[in-house]
């Protein structure tokens, strides 16, 4: 096949070294792809919902991660299969765009693929299936908008926001203190949110973790926490009304880029050079002092001498502060990052009400807190936890919660969770299917079936009878014409999600549907896989 003949009957090669490559074509290729897509989604299926299980991942270096965040699992899974990689990408893009529902999107895509396989076996052309899926996803998309509710909250009434964040956190390992974490997340987002423009810059929220203490000790700091300590052990540990010079130049003699040599051939030169050097250090410190700085934060290191001079002049300093942190400090304190000592002016100093060094536990860990900043827009969430894994997982969970809060501020439409939105869409798509003549009808119906996969997995993970529960909820939705019924995962006793306060953002849900459909369409269109065979 990969070998063709020209008009003289001589063979020529289209595909190079084909005996070293394995090739799958046609239906086989599609089936292989679907199988690997399904395999990935099956891994994630058990992590869905508040009763979902965690995965333990061991990295190439032997570090252990325990998580049930879909995006993280897929990212660390070290996948080799091309289609599986597509699924990883899918979850990642949901993570970038929305930040939540990363597991749901993959489960959805897996279900779509599964149903596509059945249709393929019946001889329906993949393009027709993907067209049907496209139509169905549009119907579902519009239906979601139809059942969405406006979600009322304001800066003073944050309770509804907290409830939403709690839904997100309840599926994570941190659900022991979901209430306090949700409050932290909402307050953090509101602190940096621009309610006028409905925009939230999550970069302004820094999430910092330190091993030790309890999860309950996690706190929100209106300011910045830097994992550094004062450059000199005897500098004051607390500075009030600090004026901060933020420097990116080292307290060291200049190192011009151009190559040069200073020749010393007489004793006088030797001495002048020495004096100049001393003067240089003195000048640097003097300049900081002159502009009125009471704290120096430097991206680079200091020489011992400079360190002592700073100490001596009563000018506390922090060294080796990372670039990102430096920027955040600059934003928070309203200061400017100064690249040269000559450019230091009083206006460029940042201001903070309180800077203090805090020690933890029995080890010598210290961190610097910069609080009461001139511009309180930058906040830090400081996580404490039993071990490194716990902290990493808390970071990820908080990230999800922050994203949810942000999405709500951007767009305050919500749909109810617990699989209720999926069930409602499934009903709508099913009903719409009959109106379409032609083969697409089957694909649309398959889409409706696939939508049931999410509530089904939810029910299964919660230890309920999946089929029984789903059909009961579905009939209840149709009977009462109320799209708020979902799976009662937490065994509360009602499956009205409005009463349970379980909801998700509309854009998150819509995004899930669109992304899943897109990827499935892409996978269905592949009919030839050429890969280097193993050697």
């Amino acid at each position: 096949m990969a070998l063709a003949f020209d008009e003289f009957g001589r063979p020529f090669i289209i595909l190079r070294e084909q005996e070293q490559k394995s090739r799958l074509r046609g239906l086989d290729a599609q089936k292989a792809n679907i199988a690997s897509g399904k395999a990935v989604s099956r891994i994630l299926q058990t992590s869905l919902g508040p009763k979902g299980m965690d995965k333990m991942l061991q990295s190439p270096d032997g570090d252990v991660t325990i998580t049930n965040d879909g995006a993280t699992i897929l990212e660390q899974m070290d996948v080799d299969n091309q289609i599986a990689k597509l699924m990883v990408e899918l979850s990642r893009s949901q993570d970038y765009e929305i930040g939540d529902g990363t597991t749901g999107v993959v489960v959805m895509a897996g279900a779509l693929l599964e149903h596509a396989e059945k249709l393929l076996e019946r001889g329906i052309h993949p393009i027709r299936i993907s067209e049907g899926y496209e139509t169905a996803s549009r119907i579902a998309f519009e239906h979601l908008e139809h059942i969405a509710h406006k979600f009322e909250f304001s800066a003073s009434d944050i309770e509804p926001l907290i409830q939403t964040c709690m839904t997100t956190l309840s599926s994570k390992i941190v659900n022991r203190c979901k209430r306090s974490l949700a409050e932290i997340a909402v307050k953090a987002v509101l602190a940096v949110a621009d309610l006028e423009r409905k925009d939230v810059n999550l970069d302004l929220i820094k999430v910092e973790g330190k091993v030790g203490g309890k999860l309950e000790d996690t706190e929100l700091i209106y300011g910045i926490v830097v994992d550094k300590d004062m450059s000199h052990p005897q500098m004051p540990k607390q500075i009030e009304d600090a004026k901060i010079a933020i420097l990116t130049c080292p307290f060291e003699p200049p190192k011009p880029k151009t190559k040069h040599k200073v020749d010393i051939d007489t004793v006088e030169k030797f001495q002048t050079l020495r004096q100049q050097e001393q003067k240089y250090f003195d000048d640097m410190v003097q300049k900081c002092k002159d502009v009125g700085a009471t704290l120096v934060i430097c991206q680079w290191g200091f020489d011992d001498e400079a360190n002592h001079l700073l100490m001596h002049r009563n000018l506390p300093a922090v060294r080796w502060v990372g670039g990102v942190e430096l920027e955040l400090i600059a934003i928070a304190t309203g200061g400017r990052i100064v690249p040269r000592f000559q450019e230091l002016t009083p206006e460029k100093l940042g201001r903070a009400g309180l800077v203090r060094e805090k020690a933890f536990g029995t080890t010598k860990d210290r961190m610097i807190y910069i609080e009461h900043c001139a511009n309180s827009r930058a906040v830090t969430i400081f996580i404490r936890g039993g071990n490194k894994m716990m902290i990493e997982e808390t970071k990820r969970s908080l990230h999800d919660a922050l994203c949810v809060a942000r999405n709500l501020i951007r767009n305050n439409s919500i749909v109810y969770g617990g699989g209720s939105a999926e069930i409602s869409c499934s009903i709508a798509v099913e009903a719409a299917a009959d109106k379409y003549p032609g083969v697409e009808q089957y694909a649309i119906r398959a889409f409706a079936d696939a939508l049931d996969a999410v509530p089904m997995a939810l029910a299964e993970n919660s230890g309920l009878q999946p089929i029984e529960t789903l059909s009961a909820v579905k009939s209840q939705q149709i009977k009462e014409n109320n799209s708020c019924f979902g799976i009662d995962c937490n065994d509360v006793g009602t499956n009205d999600m409005r009463e349970q306060n379980v909801f998700e953002t509309l854009i998150g849900k819509q995004q899930q549907l669109l992304l899943a459909t897109q990827v499935v369409k892409m996978i269905l269109k592949i009919d030839d896989v050429i890969s280097p065979s193993e050697y």
Binding site: G62, V64, V267, E305, M311, G361, M389
Partner: protein, 527 residues
């Protein structure tokens, strides 16, 4: 159609029951490993490093043992981690936390085999942990206001902590050392100002607490060996010919005479620097970096005691205790804060000569000199003492105290049992299991002491059924005894941390239903 390969080569995946099995087995194995070191009659472990020399450590400190293990099992790593955190945060109970987590998982395994969903077990464990914590909170004793009682409390805690260590022979002696040292800190948890110096030789009993500061260095040749009312300048500066720091500078000469001139200038510069230092009016100079022969000679001439190459910690601590500042430039002698102490002298401990600073300004600092037969003994003694110091310093902050000897576990188990009886549904099995895991700890303590654990624990349980019982296991006499009379106490903070972190770790491992191990990163062959 099966997927041939989803993961990279060598990556492995374990699912469902198999994954759970793997993590249970790993975690329980780790717990069993350290189990025998628990309690006053626990055994030690010998750890041999794979590094050069195959150095040997003998210890029964849980955190130290676990830190040195090379573990491949992911769940086991979780346990090692919690033990490390326990060490960092409260300093003691590193073994108990692992053993409790292991017991919790062992019980969970049985429940899982009986077809109870892990999530149900987790929610039961959570309720039980909360209930156990409240039970402890009700029973705590806080003697913070009564200084005398508080001190005896501290003493008891120190003795309890030390009794499971190598120091148990002289626990009273060491408990007193530790309590004295911590009381000097006056409430700060900064253990840095307590210095521990290990000197082989003598016996453990010869260890002592010194209120001054001891620096393990020698005094330079020809310099005074004893200084009264010392003024100390603590510095961090290079005492060789200062290199010119301006980039690109180099010396270029065209004759031998010039070389000599520069050399003289360098020497002059050195002399100036030394002179500047001496001008501070000091009679003792301590530098972090080396002091070369030439400046040393100059210092000797001026009658100044110069100590070179004190390490970073030494310098900081010295500056802290003498109240001086660490200087690096010497141009303004009037504004540099000097350190003071009443007396500097050279003392002999065993064969070694050390420098002793006594009568320092800050009373908080002190030095504990450990003596012992072998370096291994000393290392272990240091670890034990460190545990005791950590616990004590934490207790000074959170002065709530509980009895020891398995008493808290029994109290918790009783409360948890009652909760189990009240809870409807499957969760009650998990809560019952929690209480069984708690009781396992006194059982192990008794087992390690070679006692009849079944009999003792049963007696203990009966005792605890009475109101306000103080019964616990008296390992020394091998019977159930009154912990208040025996003076066995533990810090509440330690117990609470053990309870919470063990539950957290068990929960974390229980929630896992799939283990994916990535292919190990290939090491490039260096040869």
């Amino acid at each position: 159609m099966a997927v041939e390969r989803l993961f990279k080569d060598e990556a492995t995946e374990e699912k469902g029951e198999r994954a759970r099995m793997a993590s249970f087995v790993g975690a329980v194995a780790i717990a069993d490993l350290v189990k025998t070191t628990l309690g006053p009659k626990g055994m030690d472990k010998i750890l041999q490093s794979t590094g050069r020399g195959h150095s040997v450590t003998v210890t029964n400190d849980g955190a130290t043992i676990l830190k040195s293990l090379h573990i491949d099992n992911a769940a086991a790593k979780v346990l090692v981690d919690i033990s490390k955190v326990q060490d960092d945060e409260v300093g003691d109970g590193t073994t108990s936390v692992v053993v409790l987590a292991g017991e919790l998982l062992r019980e969970a395994e049985k429940l899982v085999n009986a077809k109870i969903h892990p999530m149900t077990i987790i929610s039961g464990y959570r309720m039980a942990a909360e209930c156990a914590r409240n039970a402890l909170l009700e029973k705590v004793v806080d003697n913070k206001l009564d200084a005398e009682k508080f001190k005896t409390d501290l003493m008891k805690i120190a003795m309890t902590t030390l009794s499971s260590k190598i120091l148990s022979q002289d626990k009273e002696h060491f408990a007193k050392l530790a309590v004295d040292a911590v009381m000097r800190l006056k409430g700060s948890t900064n253990l840095e100002s307590i210095q521990i110096i290990k000197k082989p030789g003598g016996s453990l009993k010869d260890s002592f607490l010194d209120e001054g500061f001891i620096l393990d260095k020698k005094i330079g040749v020809g310099q005074p060996k004893r200084i009264e009312n010392a003024k100390i300048l603590v510095a961090n500066t290079a005492m060789d010919t200062d290199k010119v720091k301006i980039y690109g500078a180099r010396v270029r000469v065209d004759s031998m005479a010039k070389v000599a001139e520069i050399e003289v200038a360098e020497k002059e510069k050195m002399r100036e620097k030394v002179q500047k230092i001496i001008n501070h009016g000091i009679n003792c100079f301590v530098n972090r970096q080396l002091i070369y022969n030439f400046p040393e000679e100059l210092f000797a001439d001026a009658g100044v005691l110069a100590i070179e190459h004190a390490d970073f910690d030494g310098i900081e601590r010295l500056a802290l205790v003498t109240g001086g500042e660490i200087a690096s430039t010497f141009d303004n002698p009037e504004s540099v804060k000097l350190g003071h102490c009443k007396l500097i002298e050279e003392i002999m401990i065993g064969e070694d000569r050390l420098i002793h600073f006594s009568g320092v300004e800050m009373g908080q600092a002190c030095t504990i000199v450990l003596r012992g037969a072998s370096p291994h003994m000393l290392d272990e003694a240091e670890r034990s003492l460190h545990d005791a110091l950590c616990v004590l310093s934490q207790t000074v902050i959170d002065s709530r105290v509980l009895f020891g000897g398995g008493w808290p576990e029994m109290v918790m188990a009783k409360a948890v049992d009652e909760l189990a009886r009240k809870t409807p549904g499957k969760r009650s099995h998990a809560i019952e299991a929690f209480s069984r895991a708690l009781v396992a700890i006194p059982t192990i303590i008794a087992d390690n002491a070679g006692l009849d654990s079944a009999e003792l624990v049963a007696q203990l349980r009966a005792e605890h059924h009475k109101e306000e019982s103080n019964a616990g296991i008296d390992v020394i006499s091998g019977s159930v005894g009154d912990m208040a009379d025996l003076g066995i106490s533990e810090a509440f903070k330690v117990k609470q941390a053990v309870l919470l972190s063990a539950t957290e770790a068990a929960e974390m491992i229980l929630r896992v239903d799939e283990i994916i191990t990535c292919a190990p990163r290939r090491r490039e062959d260096r040869m």
